[in-house]
Symmetry: D2
Subunit: 350 residues, 4 copies
């Protein structure tokens, strides 16, 4: 960390900063230039917030040299993390496609969708049962009943299930049912939630907040990793900008940036990042071409009747087309689509 003093900082102020640096267990490298005095703080700085020095008198700015996260950093873990999920992996040669409805609505809806996405080539099934809704008057999800239905859909299709957790009090029931815990954009900085998930050993899909920087996403991953749970994948789902033609702005740059900064798998959610079903296949192709390790996509058998997110949900046949295109792009990237190993017993359910 470099602490740049103001042009008019006094020698006493410089001394006081040096004392603080030392008291933080760091070594000092002093550089007194013509323009400015710079105090290098050297050592294990990743766990020392810059604000520790920013408020000191005479300090102009504090500039980090090393990243403020360590466990998530590729610097300390150069090899890709390859995350096993029920028979396939994320982060290696396979491209995972997680698909399903925004909300679990009924037994027939979730099982029909599960079968449809399985047949189209999905690797896992998504479905929401606790729903974060902007309005208190909107449908809030089926709760544990929905988890039962998802478990049945897994039984039928062999697809592992990915479900959003909204609060630390839901953890116990969630880990009984789900293969992957999803942390939604609005909870990316719900630190209490991140901490309890860090203590579990269930795989996690951590979504980037609407206006979170890439660094903040990695700091949130660090919370989970620091708790001992190494099974984390990251998800770009669009950021909030001034553009209103789409629901969010897909930050496609985040794909190569994250692949550079971290060893964790990185996937993209083209449904939320565009908000419009017509644009989902183009952005899904772009994500894989940019190096993403997978996709999470909303699919509904009858989007017009979806209780939520119908506008951005693909019909199963459009989803099947998309999977085909994505598979071709994956091949050019030297990769292949992931296939769940669970048994597919379609006939059993009706």
């Amino acid at each position: 960390m470099m602490i740049i003093m103001k042009a008019n900082a006094t020698p006493q102020q410089v001394e006081a900063v040096i004392a603080q640096v030392k008291s933080a267990g760091l070594n000092v490298h002093l550089s007194q230039g013509v323009e400015a005095t710079i105090i290098g703080a050297i050592g294990e700085t990743h766990n020392i917030p810059a604000e520790r020095f920013e408020g000191l008198e005479g300090v102009d700015t504090v500039q980090r040299i090393t990243q403020p996260y360590k466990l998530a950093s590729r610097q300390f873990h150069p090899e890709n993390t390859i995350l096993p999920i029920d028979g396939f992996t994320v982060g290696g040669d396979e491209i995972a496609i997680i698909a399903g409805p925004c909300s679990v609505e009924s037994r027939s809806q979730i099982i029909e969708t599960a079968i449809a996405v399985k047949e189209a080539g999905a690797s896992a099934l998504r479905g929401g049962v606790f729903k974060p809704r902007t309005s208190p008057y909107s449908f809030q999800g089926l709760g544990e009943d929905g988890l039962e239905l998802l478990a049945e859909a897994r039984e039928v299709t062999g697809l592992p299930i990915v479900v959003e957790i909204m609060s630390q009090v839901q953890l116990d029931v969630m880990v009984k049912y789900v293969d992957v815990l999803q942390v939604g954009a609005r909870n990316m900085q719900n630190f209490n939630l991140l901490r309890v998930i860090g203590e579990s050993r269930t795989a996690v899909l951590l979504k980037r907040g609407l206006s979170a920087t890439i660094e903040e996403l990695l700091m949130s991953a660090e919370y989970i990793l620091a708790g001992g749970n190494q099974r984390v994948m990251l998800c770009e789902r669009g950021i909030r900008t001034f553009e209103t033609a789409t629901r969010n702005t897909t930050d496609i740059n985040a794909i190569p940036v994250l692949k550079n900064l971290t060893h964790l798998p990185v996937i993209l959610d083209p449904s939320h990042s565009t908000g419009l079903a017509d644009y989902v296949p183009a952005i899904a192709r772009a994500a894989v071409a940019a190096g993403a390790d997978g996709l999470i996509v909303e699919v509904h058998p009858d989007p017009a009747k979806a209780v939520s997110d119908g506008k951005q949900s693909l019909r199963p046949e459009k989803f099947a087309e998309m999977v085909k295109q994505v598979g071709q792009i994956a091949q050019i990237m030297g990769r292949r689509l992931a296939v769940a190993q669970g048994e597919y017993t379609k006939q059993g359910w009706a």
Copy 2:
């Protein structure tokens, strides 16, 4: 709500939308123009999400006419809500100034600060004990011990206390101690938390999220109001934009916009909205000149030694100057500074 059909929508699609509108308990007003067919959905629309119709085939866009919130709306509650807080009020003629450190650090730190802000003219004391920190390696707060210290500071100064709650599991301990529950920016859409707070009867200071729209802030207030807790004030604390000269961008427009849309009190946090102590007094004056009902400001006896937010904390003497200036602006606005009614027993504590 107006549902605008695509230019090439078929009569069958129009019929299907009309059926959906009716099934939502709304009446239909059909307008078949040359440019487009428009279906007016009339009735109690505030609790029906636009997405219910957006995904239907042939629909171009859905435009709300009435607001998606009702309890928070000035339309249904034209008079200002005047919120009593331990002897003073927020939302009427009084301007509340809540001040104190980012984090409670020690007994002497919080009690000295409480005395200093009391003497400078503050109406209430703030102090964090559960801290939402970007990094898992940063100081996370003193927890319940901090609440004990705040209670003692209240004892000494007579100032009511405002403390941030981060998780629903903290509610029971919090309501034992605090006068006002603060919901931080990162939790503005933690709907589980909003719901349990809605069931309590403790006053709430609800901060706007970093990238939340004004409408979303009001929807979050609606969650609390819908639970039966009417004691809500809103807080603008800066939004995230491209500008990096300040930590956030103070959305000063939000003050008159919120005062227009809602009857709830609206305050501003110039410490977070600028991130730099030097700019806090100017923005505090601006807030009251724009019509804010109060301020929440970070003050620390020795910002250089603050464990968090030192850069944006005012020294007590600078805060005292700020209170004087704000008082003068308040007078021009036909208002006065609020004074807590608790007894001030400074001598007792040491």
Copy 3:
């Protein structure tokens, strides 16, 4: 256009709005609902600004149904515009790759670069001679001398040349030399410049402004089209957001959105949209996978010595690799790389 009246609008106000609509040459379709009175303004509305009605008393909001542009709209011109540029086309089956240095610096620099990008598979050569620089102290370009050098580079390689125009007073000299006039992001709403370019018949590459919406980009294209110049292609080059990990945020959504809204060709500039050479190939691939009609990429023989934009310039060998990858993606998309028809006389120049 729909004019939504406020809930408390008087009949006189409604009448006054109706009179204004009629005086604008439009027909009126009145819809008096329970929630609100809506006045439909029907006819040739694309050239009537919404503000004509927004300021009227009693008006709540004005909602457009048809787009505010016409010549650029796919609605009125469903077929793709296929733009011939010196032997190849943009907007059809061919993917154009425009490459070259940010600034023309010297004869050897531009000719060497031209040869390198030609050999790597570029379809056209870019190079700046009038440079829009944030600082008055930065290199401002070689001016007409630079145009002479570009002309020589075209002679040697057969590549058409693409050059940025900054001011209407440069038009005469520019059209003598260049094949495509580039309008930079900072000039996207320099309406005087757009108008004179509209009167020329030289092809135009119109870049999206840093914070321009997609609709504003199309309105700027409309300025050029309205002047009679139909030879326009659009360019996404990244927008300004809160994220600082990259220079700009590539709005990849803009590719399918623009292809949906307009018949004009759409290309992407991954050099400016990322700002870092390492990320350019990933975003170039993503663009073509998302449906872009081409790319414009900064290439420099020795980025470390570039007078501008060295950080985001590819070395020729990295560019050659990128072209190969892009060619494979193009094939999957049913397309092929464009090849300029000019004669390649490499040997002649030294």
Copy 4:
């Protein structure tokens, strides 16, 4: 400037950077830490772009210590610039209020407005004659005829006139008529225009671009100052963010930040920064309370009939109220409203 090398930079790369720093006429201060090697570049760095070093091999980031502008910086010019404008000044104790219609529409409209704003207490008259319009189909202004009408309005009221210039080719005609040249938000980085204005000696009101940073605004001012024209005032007019409740987001922070960074006067435009007349007085008060040196406000005798910006234009009586409130705030700030010295001959015109 500090050049921070990558952790794995080779000694050869460090040497190459040092050579570049020296060739830029700067001295080197080398600091080889454990974390990173840092090369301090010392000397006249304000006119050397960071990009000169950013593209060099082995370089991680380049951090400026001194600002990239000099003439605009308060560091080199600690005293406020006090700009005389026809009898009053901007930047000292006086608060200038520039008011008038968005567009000059007719003789009676502009002269009536001029009289109304004069009587309400305005210090200067604004009015557009060359209009930057998003749509080619919108009213583009009266041109030189409008300038004649403005000159007549000045004759009648004694108010100096402020008019927007859109292109360098308009300079000659503009300087014949106007007291202050306004550079609009869309032209803030029209560097050709800034350069010719720098060569004139007419006062300039430079508006911040929609998505320009504060630093970029100061760099644009530097263009004008570097040309020799010292008569520059800056104007915050709202920035583009995700919030849609108002037309723009008033960056009120920019007022104290600019007053800190530069000696140039700083005013605010609450009409554009909110876009809605109802919110203009609150933001005008806030601006002066935050330390602004003046305001520029849109006023129209009949906003409903304005050809542009009617929605954000104040009626004269609302403007008069606003001036009174602003005057009271000014007094608290130790300032007073500016009064033009030109003779007021209201009776003469009709």
